[in-house]
Amino acid sequence: MTTTTVRARGERTGERLPGAWELGLQRGAIEIKQFFRQRDQVMFTFAFPVVFLFLFASIFSDDVEGAGITASQLYVPAMMAAGLMSTSFQSLGISIAIERDEKVLRRLRGTPMPPAAYFLGKIWLVLVTGFLETAILLAVGTTLYDVDLPSDMGKWFDLGWIFVLGLTACALLGIAISSVPKSAKSATSVVVLPFLVLQFISGVYIPVDSIPDWMVTISALFPLKWMCQGLRGVFLPESSRVLEQAGEWEFGRVALVLAAWCVAGLLLCLMTFRWKTRRDG
């Protein structure tokens, strides 16, 4: 009975396949290695938000009436939030679409690698690049634009969870949106348009108090608005709370929305992720 011997070899229960968490770490290491070996990609990923911060914070530097801050200060947390979303949502959305087009994903699918390990690897990559991005923006913000580092542990803690939750939510959404473009060629436009719109209505380029309420209401459905708001709460003085729609930083709601997007993003990824392009069926 040959069948039984074949089965026995393949389905021997004593040996388990490596777990998703462990392989996720391995994937993360390999992703980070690949990322940093592409010099031009590294340059542009990190330079983009810094250039924008420099432009906006230098052009708009007047005092904000009644808030006790300058417009430049307002742009530091805003660009940090946008930077987090660009290293996660935008980079992943585009790079995964390219990987799919180049059949890297199909190859992975042909191995016993669990899909979750692939997603985990991307999140590790984004945590590292997002951390560096934030550090760079913070360095620029504190030296050029009068932003102070958080003074107490509570604020550092807030920064920590906003960073992890915001980045994870955006990374998962980036992974999910990568399945939308039909090919790598259209990936950039498909990913950048919603990101750009969100930046305009979430208070990145234009302060929330200057945006029509209905737009802010729409932006409140997505993570970016809450990341901006939370980071303003971390880096700006209490006097500037008056600029918020609610007149509060609303940390509880920030945490809730970002956590909800982490869960929703994961479900979206698991349900809609494609390992092949549409023309490959």
Binding site: T2, T3, V6, R9, G10, L17, Q34, Q38, V104, P112
Partner: protein, 302 residues
């Protein structure tokens, strides 16, 4: 009308015994893309430990068939069993037993050969030794090079390395030597023979006749989504190319030729007629290539 060897064999009473020996068992496989029927009722039976060649011109349905066996493409109809499992319900455990080498390469450009092979080895329960596999495909000198710096043939060899790193029971190779130079192709054949000697069941698609003849224990010729012939290479040639060609020159200098199933008789008759040496005598059997071109309806291409 060509009767596939296997359908005759299947009629025998030992059919159930056969089914259990099969690493790949495909019956009545069909796949359509819109109006185009890519696979139109293919039957295949690949035995454990066998090297099986799937031969056919471009567009014959080879790649679609292999992709269905990989679990990477859905089918419209038919029964498929690969290592006892329907690939559509593939689990991680099943994927770890099947090695795949695709037609187009897709390894991450920024990593080195060694990093890539090592990394892929971690996906498996009991992988082969990465260094040994790199040596097996002849890339030891390139082990430290980035993949983007490899030549096309070297990348294909890396693909093969990634296909066998998990120590698969079944290896599916889709046109693995396309773009190889003759030396690399010979080297690749050695690799396949080595893996076959270790007991790996191998399915390879190719449109190189010599490759199929050199490697495959059995082969199936596919055309227009059908299996038009199946069997051992020599048997195929005998069965589908039994007519020999006898050529000679008449005393007046006219070249003559005759297609016949009984070339010896023809030669005997000629010997009688010429009473001694027959001028310009040549008796030739069709090559596998002649058989192949006839089977796939490309005879006139010659």
């Amino acid at each position: 009308m060509v009767v596939p060897e296997r359908s005759l064999r299947r009629d025998a009473s030992d059919m159930t015994a056969h089914a259990k020996d099969l690493a790949v068992d495909v019956r009545g496989l069909r796949k359509q893309y819109g109006d185009v029927t890519a696979v139109d009722g293919i039957d295949l039976g690949i035995r454990q430990g066998e090297v099986f060649g799937l031969l056919g011109p471009n567009g014959a349905g080879k790649t679609t068939t292999v992709e269905i066996l990989q679990g990477n493409r859905s089918r419209d109809a038919g029964e498929v069993s690969v290592l006892g499992v329907d690939p559509e319900t593939a689990t991680r455990a099943w994927r770890s037993r099947v090695g795949i080498v695709w037609q187009d390469e897709s390894a991450p450009a920024e990593l080195t050969v060694r990093e890539t092979v090592r990394h892929f080895s971690r996906y498996y329960r009991r992988p082969r030794d990465p260094e040994e596999v790199i040596g097996l495909v002849g890339l030891q000198e390139k082990a430290g090079s980035r993949i983007k710096a490899l030549s096309g043939g070297q990348r294909r060899r890396l693909d093969v390395a990634l296909g066998v790193i998990g120590g698969p029971e079944l290896l599916l190779l889709d046109e693995p030597t396309t773009g190889f130079d003759p030396a690399a192709r010979r080297q690749f054949w050695e690799l396949i023979r080595k893996l076959a000697d270790e007991g790996t069941t191998i399915l390879l698609t190719t449109h190189y006749l010599e490759e199929a003849e050199a490697l495959a224990h059995r082969l199936a010729v596919v055309a227009h989504g059908h299996v038009v012939a199946e069997g051992e290479p020599a048997a195929l040639r005998d069965r589908h190319g039994s007519e020999a060609t006898v050529e000679w020159t008449e005393p007046d200098g006219t070249p003559r030729s005759e297609h016949t199933k009984t070339p010896t008789r023809t030669v005997a008759e000629l010997t009688h007629r010429f009473d001694g040496e027959i001028p310009g005598l040549r008796v030739s059997r069709p090559t596998l290539e002649d058989v192949y071109l006839r089977l796939t309806g490309q005879e006139n291409a010659r």
